[in-house]
Amino acid sequence: MAQPCAVIGVGQTKHAKARADLSMPGLVREAALRALDDAGLGFGDIDAVVIGKAPDAFEGVMQPELFLADALGAAGKPMIRVHTAGSVGGSTVVVGAHLVESGIHQRVLAVAWEKQSEGNAQWGLAGGRSGGIGAGGAFAPYIRSYIERSGAPDYIGWQVAVKDRLNALKNPYAHLQLPDISLEKVKESPMLWDPLHFLESCPSSDGACAVVLGDAGAAAASPNPPAWILATSVRSEPSTFPGRDAVRPRGGVECAHDVYRQAGITNPRQEIDVAELYVPFSWYEPMWLEGHDIAGPGEGWRMVDSGETEIGGGFPVNASGGVLSSNPIGASGMLRMAEAANQVRGLAGAHQVDGARLSLGQAYGGNAQYFSMMVFSSTLER
């Protein structure tokens, strides 16, 4: 049987278009040292290091964790490098949690990062070939299909774009700080990939995130409250084939049901207090609410429209500002887990959801084909 595991430390960098003040080792170290400080630990207390990032071509270094290991105190320890496309930050925490849950290690440092300013993500996303359409170009047809299927009005995407940027104003680490954001500004911003406007898209960011995972003993000894991990799950499915539902991918549905089952959740909309979902383009908020059976078909956009997903609403989503406000790609998935964990620890600062006890973290990647999900709780027993 799996041993209990908790997030006992969380750290992240200030995310920005270019962290020209930091090298790659400096970037990961900034996040790692903050996570260790939160956990009251030093590098010497860590048993193993798990590192995740999106394609190496984004920075132009093959297996960069081999040289980053020196900056993360990994020498003499086991190190694992995870890569599962955009979901990788989430998968990296899952791999780290399994090292603790299996009883192999007591304290694991998981780090995810991206330094997008070192390269050209559009080139990377195109597989290094010309004619790339970018992630927005890949997802826009799915979004269009969702709109047609659900009958959602066009302003739903603008609402998500505004909500997440207003939330980001409460998050000192968020890349985008847009105090004068408005529905009108989103609507009037350039159309990038119909129906996605410029302000409905995520930025390109430099940033890193780190979490310290610990067993029951480590959690008891840590100075700050733990976020107990009640569930972990990953799912993958092929990029495309005739008949695949790319709007509501089966892998996402099954991954969600797997974590609900593990955590004993029968009504996610009622029971989960706050969710951090990977929403790189505004419409993915209602799409994942429905794609993870938090909302019924056609109900996701109504949750957005009614304000239910705002801080203070019945089901707050991305209180941190989400991927729409900071997107260091490889770290974006871990930021979802870290923010969800901090909510149940009561350590989310100005974007804390009052009384959050149960939270959901989710990341997705590839052609909406890779999923990683976790459920966090303020108590080991619900």
């Binding site: 049987m1 799996a2 090298s23 790659m24 394609p55 190496d56 071509a57 984004f58 920075e59 132009g60 270094v61 093959m62 297996q63 960069p64 964790e65 081999l66 040289f67 290991a69 020196d70 990994a74 020498a75 003499g76 320890k77 086991p78 190190m79 694992i80 490098r81 995870v82 890569h83 599962t84 496309a85 998968s91 899952v94 791999v95 399994h98 090292l99 849950e101 299996s102 009883g103 192999i104 990377g124 996303l125 597989g127 290094g128 799950s233 990953v234 799912r235 993958s236 499915e237 092929p238 990029s239 084939f241 991918p249 089966r250 892998g251 099954e254 991954c255 590839g366 052609n367 084909q369």
Partner: protein, 352 residues
């Protein structure tokens, strides 16, 4: 070390060639289908899948995504991927099986080295600030390491040639070997240097290939095969990256991994070592304390067939094959990641 015994119950290899006409997903599919067939399982019974590969070999970001087509990912599967040799994918799957809620895992490692030029590629695997700009290619770095070993007085150029002769002679019996030969050490020593003190036979024959393994919990393993090959211990450790910050003639991470894997608990009858040069093979053997009673590289080892990112996993397969067929009761497999033996994994395999 957790208590749950996990066993290897099947494996498969795609043809290993210097330049394969197959795509990487095709190689993965061949290996995966062979592994599933050899274990006698239904792919739908696999509870966790883990892959190991490296985008940079083919130069295509997200190259690993295409390999998913060879993993039987419909209906969707619980799957993960490491940007590392498949030996580390096996490690992750072994960890996952410790949870006890699933009983079968599929692991595969794959790589196509033929599309890229190693001299251009591997400097990009080094520190981009201090090492990559030097253009330090893997043959030159291996030569520096070999020189450090020779200068330590613990090995001679003849020792290197004898290791190469041993590997190449053993490879004559391996259908997956890219190079092999019956030459003795004297003949090999007469060949010209590639990167002094290393000659061509001291360096790996890189190529294209894929390998796959089926892991099972002990209980499931006993229902599938007569003689399960148990993973009695598996561990890995990393050394610092900067070659100037460590003694290249030794491999403390290999020693630590061997200790953590329980190497000291009994004699190892044979060992498959993943050296990037003959000098690395000697350094690893010494770090693990492997003496004259252990047969080294009965398959011909990594130097005679190096499908990068599958090579380490193949060491585990070649050791497991010989435990399964009764050649050995206790065997060791070693895998390495990165340059100059930076990161090392040791796996101890046993029959009952």
């Amino acid at each position: 070390m957790p208590a749950n015994d996990i066993a290897i119950v099947g494996w498969g290899l795609a043809p290993i060639e210097a330049r394969s006409p197959a795509t990487e997903p095709q190689l993965c599919l061949a290996a995966n289908l062979a592994a599933i067939a050899s274990a006698g399982i239904d792919r739908h019974d696999v509870g966790f899948t883990c892959a190991g590969s490296c985008d940079y070999l083919t130069g295509g970001p997200f190259a690993f995504v295409a390999n998913l087509d060879a993993a039987g990912a419909w209906p969707p599967i619980a799957e993960s991927h490491v940007e590392m040799d498949g030996a580390w994918a096996l490690y992750e799957a072994w960890v996952r099986l410790q949870h006890g809620d699933i009983d079968l895992a599929l692991v595969f490692g794959s790589g196509k080295s033929s599309p890229s030029n190693p001299i251009e590629l591997y400097p990009q695997q080094l520190d981009p600030y201090y090492l990559s700009p030097l253009g330090l290619d893997p043959d030159s770095l291996s030569a520096l390491q070999a020189r450090a070993l020779l200068d330590s007085g613990r090995a001679t150029e003849r020792d290197l040639a004898e290791a190469a002769a041993r590997d190449r002679q053993a490879a004559q019996g391996n259908p997956h070997a890219i190079v092999s030969g019956a030459e003795d050490a004297d003949t090999l020593l007469a060949s010209p240097y590639t990167a002094p003190p290393l000659r061509a036979h001291d360096l790996p024959a890189r190529g294209d290939g894929a390998a796959a393994v089926i892991l099972a919990t002990a209980e499931r393993a006993r229902s599938l095969v007569e003689r399960p090959v148990y993973i009695r211990g598996i561990a890995h450790r990393l050394d610092v990256h900067q070659p100037g910050m460590r003694d290249l003639a030794t491999s403390p991470s290999t020693t630590a991994a061997g200790r953590a894997a329980g190497l000291g608990e009994g004699r190892v009858e044979l060992a498959e070592l993943h050296g990037g040069s003959t000098a690395q093979e000697l350094i690893v053997a010494e770090a693990l304390g492997l003496g004259g009673t252990t047969t080294i590289n009965p398959s011909g080892g990594a130097l005679t067939a190096d499908p990068v990112m599958a090579t380490g996993l193949i060491r585990i397969i070649e050791a497991a094959r010989r435990v399964a067929d009764g050649t050995a009761r206790r065997a060791l497999a070693h895998a390495t990641n990165g340059q100059a033996l930076q990161h090392n994994l040791v796996c101890i395999l046993e029959a009952d």
